[in-house]
């Protein structure tokens, strides 16, 4: 009896391990985010113990004039105010370029979705610890358009963006529970002839999240530039 049950358990287990796959059709877009050396960042817990944290990121589409069209994917903490151990910081410095491009202002005046009004117009997912592939199937989307990805690690402090920077300083990034190095932005323009391209690092966001500008001076950024190894885009 017991043996039979364990055999059934085995069969169930094996049959449940079937792998989900994306199936691409002609014209579909495959976006592959390949993790870099600093994809995982040590987040201190207690007694010197740390936890490996992946970055927060958003993927979205704009037209070539910089007008926001649609979000594709956003990590859950940003999309739902799902922060833990953030001491009340809403983390406006996490992905400010995406927030400002999207342009939706919430009840507290910030452009970040809240627990009460989480983001619903895109896929919201757990931050992956490994490479991520996203399929985009255009419906009424016309070329040319721009695909952007903005990524940020929490408490990724360095000498240029230190923990003790004061509010108002140019390198202030939200204080003790803030960003440290600002979010980095990658982009690629897709036109009718594009078959395969790699998103380029075009700059960083506002360190304290007060504006949605792109800053192309990358001096002072260290580990933030290797959060991803590459972001490739292929038109099927």
């Amino acid at each position: 009896m017991v043996l039979n049950i364990w055999m059934l358990v085995g069969v169930f287990f094996l049959s449940s391990c079937q792998k989900e796959e994306l199936s691409f059709k002609n014209g579909d877009i495959e976006l592959e985010v390949e993790t870099g050396e600093h994809w995982l960042h040590d987040f201190p817990l207690f007694l010197g113990l740390t936890k490996k944290n992946p970055p927060q990121f958003a993927v979205w589409i704009e037209d070539t004039n910089g007008n926001y069209l649609s979000t594709v994917f956003v990590t859950k903490k940003i999309a739902t105010e799902g922060w833990q151990s953030n001491a009340g910081n809403r983390r406006k410095e996490a992905l400010p370029h995406w927030c400002h491009q999207r342009g939706i202002i919430y009840e507290d005046g910030l452009m970040l979705p809240t627990k009460e009004n989480p983001l619903t117009d895109a896929i919201t997912g757990a931050t992956p610890k490994e490479n991520k592939t996203i399929q985009i199937t255009p419906k009424s989307l016309q070329t040319p358009f721009v695909v952007k990805v903005e990524l940020n690690q929490s408490i990724d402090f360095n000498t240029s963006y230190p923990e003790n920077a004061q509010e108002g300083d140019t390198n202030y990034s939200g204080g003790k529970e803030g960003s440290g190095q600002p979010a980095v932005i990658y982009a690629a323009t897709i036109d009718a002839d594009t078959k395969e391209t790699e998103l380029k690092l075009i700059g960083h966001s506002s360190p304290d999240g007060t504006d949605g500008n792109i800053y192309d001076n990358m001096e002072g950024l260290t580990t933030a530039t290797s959060i991803v190894k590459s972001i490739k885009l292929t038109i099927k």
Binding site: V2, I5, L8, V9, F13, S16, S70, V72, K139, S140
Partner: protein, 173 residues
């Protein structure tokens, strides 16, 4: 998939129900960082072999709330016993059902662990239980979003924390 779950649940209930009545039963409550389990344990075949059916709640999915459901069975062997102490090993199978708005990923989990049990009370009616072990459970899931402009989809995976440590109380009857 649902049929498989119902079938497996039925097997677990049959295991719990079909065991012949003996004197050595235990009801237990076990707590860990990720799970809270209620279990019914019964001796099987020999004094030092036991089976357990358990159910509980967990917080291992994306929302980190204790609102996931789990159910499973465990088969154990008490390898060493001395007075009121015993140390056993066990193998388990459970089904973990995450509960959130973002995905569905019913996940089979297998595990193996060590259980230390210290009986106390006048008739050894109570037990302190300490469990530690390894478990493996991973399930891919697909997420999709559709708007007027685009359809998007991606595959992610849900993984159970591999190491567990729990403390519990058992009532023996």
């Amino acid at each position: 998939m649902k049929k498989k779950i119902v079938f497996s649940l039925a097997c677990m209930l049959l295991l719990a129900y079909g065991i012949k009545a003996q004197n050595n039963n235990q009801l237990s409550l076990q707590l860990s960082l990720n799970q809270i389990e209620l279990g019914y344990q019964h001796k099987l075949f020999a004094e030092n072999i036991w089976g357990e059916a358990f159910a509980g709640i967990g917080n291992q999915d994306i929302n980190s709330r204790f609102d996931d459901f789990l159910v499973g069975i465990r088969l154990g062997f008490d390898a060493f016993s001395y007075k009121r102490n015993s140390i056993g090993i066990d193998a388990s199978f459970e089904i973990y059902i995450p509960n959130n708005h973002y995905y569905t990923a019913v996940t089979p989990v297998i595990g193996a662990g060590i259980r230390y049990s210290l009986a106390f009370g006048k008739l050894n009616q109570h037990s302190l239980l300490i469990n530690a072990g390894y478990q493996y459970g991973k399930q891919d899931y697909k997420q999709e979003y559709t708007s007027e402009l685009i359809n998007t989809s991606t595959i992610s995976d849900f993984k159970i924390a591999p190491l567990y440590f729990s403390l519990g109380y058992g009532f023996n009857f």
